[in-house]
């Protein structure tokens, strides 16, 4: 450890740390744009100026290493003046179109201008005009005028994805970032460039103009898209979920996440969801009804069968707590050992894109396997199928995958399972009629990963909590809820549905005086 003094206070920082890292560790604020902890040092924004005792020139903090006994300050007049001017240089060609810029509210230029700005603009000449609203592929939009050429995005495609799409073309104040010939930026990590852009130069096509960031709340969660389990921050408000950003976790995903993972969060919105319980007897039409009531009825139907003829099918897209609860309640209710693991494409499990995305598209394979092993369930899928054809298994409870898109043979398998007399399918997605054979069918809406608490265990065995739940589909339940119904406990609802937070005339609910 090295001792150093930052703004008059003593700190100890690890050897090899740059001054900017020391400032971060010390919790001191320091203006910067181009420096990013996961990228190489570019040293081009010139904002992180500090004065070092014994050095007549101001130095940039990102490329200067801390040495023993160094006395560093960014509070001196010279530093503040220099930062003011450098910020002014940043702004002279910046279009100042904050009202229409999506970054407004979380913009590095806005924030730092409030902190260090010069407030007296002296640039009275026409600004450099550059290209606006350039589409870079399916996900990203570029506005060159807003760009401050910090080169973070360029370094990202060079160093992290190694796809080299982005570059800075031309020179001087004509410099512009872009792709060659406006080729699309369609790698699977392209939205990270939007995240690391300190200004509104790169914006997400999907999120663009949908919400102002100050109307959004943030919730931490875990991406359910694969067994890596990237930490995420979900931005939502009463109108729904709007975007997902990676949350830094050096042990799991660093600062990044893939675009596919971000898309998954869109699929939790109610349009894609099973909203109510559904039931069908034989060739009848589907009936819709409250999930709780239907779940209870489904449990009754299952209980009517011989207890050893009921099977439980699990997929690794639910939390450990849910598996635990459902297996316990299943065991005590049916005294059956028929618990099956619905695994999909195990041959892809070793696949890895070299950065984050893994072939096992289930977030909790490790967790499920641990529980199955502990409980000693070793039944195979073929046993289940033969039991179904022989009639040894007549009732099946399926905890269907939350994202059936990762199960290409989902309908096929479900069709096979629907050979059972009573099929209770716990699913967060609507099921098409043709996926099921006639019989006694129950569909119970399940909550998505955003709506429940619990633990995912990733491929390396790291246990991660899902965070506080939202409520998107009020009627949906978790597997644990279903387990309680199965064992005979009724549920009481606690969480207010998300939609109800935005009652327009809220004051109408309270009785008015005088009326």
């Amino acid at each position: 450890m090295l001792k150093c003094t930052i703004n008059g206070k003593q700190y100890a920082v690890p050897e090899g740390a740059s001054i900017i890292e020391a400032f971060k560790l010390a919790g001191e604020s320091l203006a910067h744009y181009c420096w990013h902890p996961a990228l190489s040092v570019a040293g081009v924004c010139r904002m992180c100026m500090v004065s070092i005792e014994g050095n007549p020139r101001l130095q940039i903090a990102c490329n200067t290493m801390v040495t023993e006994g160094m006395v560093i300050s960014n509070q001196s007049h010279a530093v503040k003046d220099s930062v003011k001017w450098v910020l002014d240089f940043h702004l002279i060609n910046h279009p100042l179109d904050c009202p229409i810029c999506d970054q407004a509210g979380e913009c590095g230029l806005q924030d730092q201008y409030m902190m260090f700005g010069k407030y007296t603009p002296e640039m009275a000449m026409p600004k450099q005009r550059k290209r606006k609203v350039v589409s870079l592929g399916d996900r990203v939009v570029l506005d060159s005028e807003r760009c401050i050429l910090c080169s973070r995005c360029v370094r990202f495609t060079e160093e992290i994805t190694k796809t080299h799409e982005l570059g800075i073309f031309h020179r001087g104040d004509r410099s512009e970032i872009g792709t060659f010939n406006d080729r699309p930026l369609n790698n699977n990590y392209s939205l990270n460039t939007v995240d690391i852009c300190p200004v509104g130069a790169l914006t997400s096509k999907k999120f663009r103009f949908r919400q102002r960031v100050w109307f959004l709340k943030e919730k931490k969660s875990i991406c359910p898209g694969c067994c890596t389990g990237c930490n995420i921050k979900v931005s939502y408000n009463s109108k729904g979920v709007f975007r997902v950003k990676p949350d830094c976790n050096p042990d799991v995903n660093g600062y990044w996440m893939c675009d596919e993972g971000r898309d998954l969060c869109e699929k939790t919105q109610s349009v894609d969801r099973l909203l109510k319980g559904m039931s069908k007897y034989g060739e009848e039409k589907w009936q819709e009804g409250p999930a709780l009531k239907f779940a209870k009825q489904a449990c009754d139907d299952l209980s009517a069968l011989p207890s050893s003829s009921v099977a439980l099918v699990l997929t690794a897209q639910h939390t450990c707590e849910e598996f635990e609860a459902l297996i316990q309640s299943f065991k005590s209710k049916f005294k059956s050992k028929k618990v099956y693991y619905w695994v999909n494409r195990p041959e892809d499990f070793h696949k890895f894109d070299g950065l984050l995305l893994r072939g096992d598209r289930n977030p909790n394979t490790v967790g499920l396997l641990q529980i199955l092993e502990r409980e000693g369930f070793k039944s195979t899928w073929s046993e289940l199928l033969s039991d179904l054809s022989s009639g040894a298994t007549q009732g099946v409870i399926v905890a269907a995958p939350e994202f059936p898109s990762f199960y290409p043979d989902f309908s096929e398998k479900l069709y096979e399972l629907s050979r059972a007399k009573v099929l209770t399918c716990l699913t967060s997605r609507p099921i098409k009629d043709r996926e099921l054979l006639p019989g006694q069918r129950w569909l119970i809406p399940l909550k998505s990963f955003l709506e429940k608490e619990g633990t995912f265990i990733n491929y390396r065995g790291v246990q991660q909590k899902l965070g506080t739940p939202l409520e998107l589909v009020p009627d949906a339940m978790t597997l644990s809820d279903f387990a309680r119904i199965l064992s005979g406990d009724w549920l009481e609802r606690q969480v207010e549905p998300l939609g109800s937070q935005n009652v327009i005339n809220e004051f109408m609910k309270t009785p008015m005086r005088g009326l």
Partner: protein, 173 residues
């Protein structure tokens, strides 16, 4: 609140009543003699002209080409204490416009006419005009949309904003 007066004082109510009636009589005679100076208006045929600074019904201004000035920055919605403004933004065909509202609604029954939206607007897109009357029966008819806010007949094709994008670009702002 009840003000208690002593008996003697409260017994002398007759003279004020008489003086009150005298005033009425005085005004009646005066109005009959000078009908033009009469303050009473025959509403709704006659209407009172408020000062231009009066904060009445909202107006969305338009550009020279007649399209909406609003850039859907949502600052008005942010500033609004009554949360009565709903805006939905969208991508404009013209990259120099970039963002515009496809939906702009003000719930007039919630609005408290504080004028903060007008103050928050960076492009002079919303003003509070001198109009204030607006009768209606169901609640729905008090949610004004773009058509109502910018192009209602009384505005005669829209009010042009003071902030011109082309001028701004010319000066390099």
């Amino acid at each position: 609140m009840i003000i208690e007066r002593d008996r003697a004082e409260s017994a002398w109510y007759l003279p004020p009543i008489v003086s009150g009636l005298m005033l009425t009589l005085h005004k009646m005679i005066k109005n009959l003699l000078h009908r033009k100076e009469m303050l009473t208006l025959n509403y709704p045929e006659e209407k009172f002209e408020y000062s231009p600074r009066f904060r009445g019904n909202h107006v969305l201004t338009v550009k020279k080409d007649g399209s909406l000035r609003c850039t859907a920055c949502m600052l008005c919605a942010t500033a609004c204490p009554a949360e009565c403004i709903t805006i939905e933004a969208s991508e404009h065909q013209d990259p120099s416009v970039e963002k515009y509202p496809i939906k702009y609604e003000i719930d007039m029954l919630r609005c408290v006419f504080c004028g903060l939206c007008e103050e928050a607007c960076p492009v002079d897109a919303i003003r509070m005009g001198p109009e204030w009357q607006r009768p209606g029966t169901p609640t729905d008819s008090f949610i004004y949309g773009i058509q109502e806010l910018a192009y209602r007949p009384s505005l005669k094709g829209g009010i042009t904003s003071d902030v011109d994008d082309q001028e701004r670009h010319r000066y390099g702002i």
